[in-house]
Amino acid sequence: MLDVRDVHVHLAERLVLAGVQFQIEAGEFVGLIGPNGAGKTTLLKTILGLVTPDLGQVLVDNRPIRRGNPAIGYVPQKVHLDPDTPLRGRDFVALGLDGVRWGVPLPRRSRRERVERALGSVQALTYADAPVGRLSGGELQRLQIAQALVGEPRLLLVDEPLSNLDIRNAHEVVRLLHELARSRGMAILLVAHDLNPLLSALDKVVYLARGRSMAGRTDEVMTSESLSRLYGYPVEVMRTRGRIVVVGGPDMHLVPPEAADHAGLGEWEATTP
Amino acid sequence: MMYLDAFVHSPFWHSPQVWHALFITTSAGVVSAVVGVFIVLRGQSFAGHILTDVGATGASASFLFSINSWYGFLSFGLLAGAGMEALGKRTRGRDTATGLVLSFFMGLGALFLFLDTRVSNTADVTMSVLFGSVFTADPNTTPWLIGTSAATLLVVAAIYRPLLICSIDAEWAQARGIPVRWVGLLFMLAFVVAAEDSALAMGALLSTAFLMGPAAAGVRIAHRIGAAIGISALLAVMAAWLGVGLAYASYNWPPAGRGYPCSFLIADILFMEYLGAGMAARWRAHIRRLGGKRCT
């Protein structure tokens, strides 16, 4: 389905991706994990054709990618909407269906039903008629997922959907996406800082650090040897009570444990070596 | 040598109008250039434009009551500035509501100008309010204008550092214990004086050139604020002198020998300076990239 081959990307004289390589099959639920600035968003943009790789290539269905491929759905990391945007949630979702096409949309039954179904699949029907600018971060997140789903993509790229959500809602969204992957045979690539809320659902992990990647089953990737090789210095992966904790990774000294807990960050970033 | 001689002894220097024009444009230019850097940083050029539009309403009213137009500019400008400050948020290009409420003043200005033409039976008022007339300005205003400009520069110098912090991140400034409200108020005062001084020199419609042009060029070239302010002031003075000189010379120019408007000349020079600054910045980045490549 998706084949990323040895991708190198420069952004403003900096090598952000230096040989990223992995594959995703239809129906797989894959986590893209890595510290801040590892290049996760850049990788998604490369898959979408918004960033051209300097070296290597990306294939979707064995064909080189092109911008605007309707088979790929995208939920970006940050959205900004003015509080008084004159648009209902429903209209926002409908843009994902045919927002690219020229002309004024005609109100058609089939169109309305598809939007309704997408809204239903993310349980957003209760606020479908509210103005989008007034929704909470989590509510807007669901609408964004619905907007991506309504185009019926076969590959869904989701950038950090969990950072806006409380623990219960995070689990809820993960369950939802997991179910979508199962029921529709849709491949999902989900970006996250913290692996733990995803552990039970993931089929596969792509770990990104220092511009390079390590891909495979969770228990293959999340070991001390493979991550140490990736980082280029020794880190330790520990498993305690069903959680995975990486000790010795970057940006660890920045966050004291209690502040990290307070901010809802995973233990993984909080633990001091 | 001969040209220099002709230049020094040109009647240009012996005309009191020319000297007034030079004083007015230079002082308005310098104060606008300095304040303008902060306006660019704060993204407030729409607010600046609004201030002078409202000032124009005041100027039109002042003609109606035969008062010096500078008082009209300044009083209405202060009113508009106070209004924007009271709304409590920065007026940016996005800001529809503020723009709308203040466009009411433009409507009022239309009415005043209309009544002006009725009263005076000439339409020159429209031209002088909207496009300025440095050569025929009332000489009594010149000292006032220079005085307020100097005072404004002093105010900006006094609040320079807190203002900088407030302009970059107001919340952070508040957390650091800077009286954000006061700094904002003082800056608004400086902003109004700069905008209205340059409105008097350039006319209400073209004053934005002085307010934005040199500052935008300065910010593009320099990476440090101090340098940006210096370059900006220098560019403003250059444009002012060159503009007045050309306007003086243009009485012999084709097609009509009626003289080219001074504010038009200054505005165009400023625009060229801005484009030149952009090119300089790009050129330097290019050089730097080449240099960087060679090192690695």
């Binding site: - | 723009g99 709308l100 000439t122 625009f271």
Partner: protein
């Protein structure tokens, strides 16, 4: 008897003699209607995209165009089209490099300076400048009505074509880009759209006040409704009411139409704003 007097006065005031029999008033009403409706359509995106400053600047740029046309003795429409479309394109092109508000301001003063030069060269001081800046209703000719109608139709057509992708790229830029929306093309076409509206507003309400017609009704409408269609309908109605009443008052008083149009639009906004404020107050009190 007394009643009759009041009615007569009212009649005289609402339907002053000559209002419906004067040809230029008919022209003004037709043009005003077209202008108000198209301004609403485009204003919707102006408010949504937050480009009030651009909408404020383009009509003023159109003024320079007319002044230039007078000097070169070509039809004003040519000057308006050239300056507005060029101005819009320059703004949208340059603002990809520099800061948008700075670029808008500088493009504006460049065009205004040219306008001033044209006025000086053409010796078209005073009256002409005044009419261009603040609008006049006496001078609208039959062919001008035809021109306004034609430009209005083109604008509406372009608006309808752009509607969906423009909305998409405005409210969800990243998704739209990922789906293949061409942002640069849309930016330029949108600038042309605003330019076209200004081509229509400048001759009727004047360069300085076309801005309020563009954003006022939409800003007012979006205070009360958050649905695109409702916003458009309400804004259209508000804009029409404002321009019709302004034309009537201008005819009655001989004062500039732009003054009345702006005042009415701002009043509409204020009334709705205060009304909404009172309503939320009540709701809180209960």
């Amino acid at each position: 008897m007394h009643m009759m007097g009041v009615l007569d006065t009212l009649h005289l005031w609402l339907l002053p003699s000559g209002l419906l029999t004067t040809l230029y008033m008919w022209h003004a009403y037709v043009c005003g209607t077209i202008v108000a409706l198209t301004a609403t359509l485009v204003g919707y995106f102006v408010v949504l995209r937050g480009v009030a400053f651009m909408a404020h600047s383009l009509p003023k740029i159109g003024f320079a165009g007319v002044a230039g046309a007078t000097v070169l003795q070509v039809p004003p429409l040519v000057g308006l089209l050239t300056f507005n479309l060029l101005g819009g394109l320059v703004m949208s092109t340059l603002s990809r490099r520099g800061r948008r508000d700075v670029v808008t301001a500088l493009t504006l003063v460049l065009a205004l300076g040219a306008g001033e030069l044209f006025l000086t060269l053409g010796q078209a001081y005073g009256e002409t400048a005044y009419a261009l800046l603040f609008g006049q209703i006496v001078g609208i000719s039959g062919p001008q009505v035809g021109q306004t109608l034609a430009v209005g139709l083109v604008t509406t057509g372009l608006w309808m074509i752009l509607y969906r992708p423009l909305l998409f790229v405005t409210v969800a830029r990243d998704q739209a880009l990922a789906r293949g929306v061409r942002e640069r093309l849309l930016d330029n076409l949108f600038a042309i759209l605003v330019g076209l509206v200004c081509v229509m507003t400048v001759p009727v309400v004047g360069a300085l006040l076309g801005f309020s017609l563009l954003i006022g009704p939409v800003a007012t409408a979006s205070l009360v409704t958050r649905r695109g269609v409702h916003t458009l309908l309400l804004a259209g109605a508000l804009g029409l009411a404002a321009i019709w009443l302004a034309l009537l008052l201008a005819y009655d008083s001989g004062w500039p139409v732009g003054f009345f149009a702006t005042t009415i639009i701002v009043l509409e906004y204020k009334v709705v704003y205060i009304g909404r404020w009172v309503k939320t107050r009540r709701a809180l009190a209960i």
